[in-house]
């Protein structure tokens, strides 16, 4: 709620201090949102979420080593991806200072994410053994792809190159999420609830697939249209400063 309202209001606030307030709200809660999402993933990975309503512990389920580490990893990954994407945007806006600013931050975020991931190996080995085993066996190729992509981005950033950083950064994140899926298969909640047992009846699944197909057909072209318009108007340089709060998420 606070993140959404911060975003909705930050452009509209008239006085600088209210604008600052809205921006701080948006910024701070933009950190908390991925962090807590990570803690939830960590709770599931470490087997702290039993089947049933309110069956697990209300606090320790998400407040533990695996959860906190996963939360931190999510924040670092988000920062890393955003910074890498903003380098090119800053370049397009013709602002070399901003470009350097984001390059430095992308590098720091990449190193932080790498460090957290390395620490994660130990924590997961100790407390989320099922996922650890999956990531080091069936999921290993994807983990290697992810690491290679991550190192590639680091090398590019180190040499001050922009080109190729975006797809490599995306590749690093996609590969590790995919690898995670492979590692957790066939469980929704590791070793207690399989995907098959957790799934809805086939009628619903078919309907959801159809809806998803419609979404791909309807929403994606519209999103593409919006993105094209946004990028093109940025190219035309109609506004001088980089637009604060471009539409979209």
């Amino acid at each position: 709620m606070l993140r959404g309202s911060g975003f909705a209001f930050h452009k509209l606030a008239r006085q600088l201090r209210y604008r600052r307030l809205a921006e701080r709200l948006f910024g701070f809660f933009s950190l908390l949102t991925p962090f807590f999402m990570g803690t939830v993933v960590g709770a599931i990975a470490s087997g702290r979420v039993p089947v049933g309503n309110a069956a697990g512990d209300a606090v320790t389920s998400w407040l533990n080593g695996v959860s906190v580490l996963t939360g931190a990893l999510f924040v670092a990954t988000g920062a890393y991806l955003s910074a890498v994407f903003l380098i090119s945007d800053a370049h397009r806006a013709g602002d070399p200072d901003l470009e350097r600013y984001f390059s430095a931050r992308a590098l720091i975020a990449a190193l932080a994410a790498g460090a957290i991931a390395l620490a994660g190996i130990l924590v997961y080995r100790a407390d989320a053994r099922f996922i650890y085993d999956g990531l080091t066996s069936e999921g290993l190729p994807l983990v290697i792809v992810s690491a290679a992509c991550g190192l590639g981005v680091l090398a590019l950033l180190w040499r001050g190159q922009r080109r190729g950083a975006r797809p490599l950064a995306v590749g690093a994140v996609v590969a590790v999420i995919w690898g995670w899926g492979v590692a957790q298969y066939p469980y929704l909640l590791p070793q207690t609830l399989t995907i098959k047992d957790g799934a809805g009846p086939s009628g619903t699944l078919t309907a959801v697939l159809v809806v998803f197909g419609v979404a791909v057909v309807v929403v994606l072209p519209a999103l593409g249209f919006l993105y094209t318009l946004a990028q093109r108007s940025a190219l035309e340089g109609e506004t001088q400063a980089p637009q604060p709060g471009r539409p979209g998420r």
Binding site: A13, R14, A58, A207, A215, V219, L229, T239, Q243, P244
Partner: protein, 450 residues
């Protein structure tokens, strides 16, 4: 949850209906080369975007509350009604994307191309309302599944769940309600401005467009609501009995306006003999099912509140029809809005009245269904979470929503003030040959990210 919903229902109404008003102004501006109408459309698009964003925020809270507060409800029946929410997701994203294109498209697209980017917003607003209200209809008239002997929900048919018996009257009733609330609320803002002496064309047009839309929608809403009430007498007789406080099943039932509901019928109300039966079946001989048709544990609570909410909704709708007729009469005679200051006062009050009617209608459908969350299938007490600490989250939600409401009102007031004090000259005309600095973002902060 009730609090979030009661809050969200107002914002959602704007999301459904406001884009249509904005496009009508846009159409007028392009068709008649009317810069004031175009300017209104541009302002309204910004207001619509703010309300849409806040609506998205409360909507997100709601989607979490479904899982957190109603685990048994979503766990057991999510397969049945969830698809409607998935469809709503598509409409939501489509609406969000095209609102963004529309807002950023001022000046960047040609006039008519820009107008057409607004059309998907209107369509997806209606589609989104359809999907969400279909779920509520389903709670009133559950369909599209069977319950096996072991209690498992089987034979799920999502389409049958979406197009249940109540969808055909509940969905149009809510969409029209959205147009009523938005139309009267926007008109009331301009009516207040005119009462304060701002009689420029901006205010006249800003009052006329929404008020005309609402005035056309109101009588239709009355007819749809009447059909809905008759359908409820058939589909959910106990809810209807509670709304009208009919204790025993009998013929020639008296219709009471106002009053308290007691175990021996309505007290202190104005009774019209036979009218209730007549309204249900067009004959005073029609038998109306009473509350005694089900055991006390299956009857809704707070019958006086239900009865008064229903009466308030119908009463307000009747008064709003009168307001529309007043406008129509003056327009027919003199091509102008009525001169009496009482017309402006009535219009100024109509916005709040429409919101009250909306909330009353929502109370009638939700409280009237109790003790069921899924009518005749699942009791509310079986659906709600057993988790402790709900009061803590409720308090947090309450505080956050209050803050959000205050911030929204402040922001909208600031925007209005800024527009009022700004010179309305060439720079404010959205389409034009010369392209001065875009009207939004008067002073973007220097690039200081972080």
């Amino acid at each position: 949850m009730a609090f979030t919903l009661g809050f969200h229902i107002i914002l959602a109404s704007f999301g459904v209906a406001f884009p249509a008003l904005m496009l009508i102004a846009n159409y007028r501006g392009l068709r008649h080369d009317d810069p004031v109408a175009l300017d209104l459309a541009q302002r309204w698009s910004k207001v619509a975007a703010v309300l849409f964003a806040v609506g998205a925020v409360t909507g997100t809270v709601l989607s979490f509350e479904f899982g957190l507060l109603w685990p048994a409800f979503t766990g057991r029946f999510g397969d049945v009604f969830g698809v409607a929410f998935a469809i709503e997701g598509i409409f939501f994203f489509t609406e969000a994307i095209f609102i963004a294109i529309y807002i950023y498209g001022w000046k960047r697209l040609s006039g008519w191309a820009h107008f057409w980017t607004g059309v998907p917003v209107v369509i997806s607003g209606i589609g989104g309302a359809f999907s969400v209200v279909a779920v509520n209809s389903w709670m009133n008239q559950p369909d599209g599944f069977t319950i096996a002997s072991n209690g498992q929900v089987t034979d799920v048919a999502p389409l049958d769940a979406i197009f249940n018996r109540a969808t055909s009257y509940e969905v149009p009733h809510m969409i029209l309600a959205a147009y009523l609330v938005t139309g009267f609320l926007i008109a009331s803002v301009y009516a207040v401005g005119m009462l304060r002496g701002r009689r420029d064309r901006h205010h006249r047009l800003g009052l006329l467009i929404p008020l005309t839309v609402a005035a056309i929608a109101t009588p239709i809403q009355f007819a749809v609501g009447d059909t809905a009430a008759r359908a409820i007498a058939d589909d959910q007789p106990v809810k209807f009995a509670a709304m009208e406080c009919v204790q025993h099943t009998h013929k020639d039932v008296t219709e009471y306006l106002g009053g308290r509901c007691t175990s021996s019928g309505v007290k202190d109300g104005i009774g019209i003999p036979g009218l209730d039966s007549f309204l249900v079946g067009f004959s005073t001989d029609t038998k109306v099912t009473g509350l005694d048709s089900v055991p006390p544990s299956d009857r809704p609570p707070a019958n006086t509140m239900l009865h008064l909410s229903f009466d308030a909704m119908v009463g307000i709708c009747t008064l709003l029809i009168g307001l529309g007729l007043w406008l129509g009469w003056a327009w027919w005679r003199r091509r102008d809005i009525p001169r009496s200051p009482w017309f402006l006062r009535a219009t100024a009050a109509s916005g709040v009245a429409a919101v009250v009617a909306l909330e009353c209608g929502w109370i009638v459908t939700e409280v009237g269904r109790q003790p069921w969350v899924v009518y005749n299938v699942m009791r509310t007490e079986d659906a709600v979470t057993g988790a402790s600490g709900v009061w803590v989250t409720f308090s947090a939600v309450l505080v956050l929503h209050t803050a959000l409401a205050i911030a929204t009102v402040l922001i909208l007031r600031t925007m209005a003030h800024r527009w009022r004090t700004a010179e309305i000259g060439e720079a404010e005309v959205p389409y034009g040959p010369s392209e001065p600095a875009p009207p939004h973002d008067p002073a973007p902060p220097a690039g200081s990210p972080g």
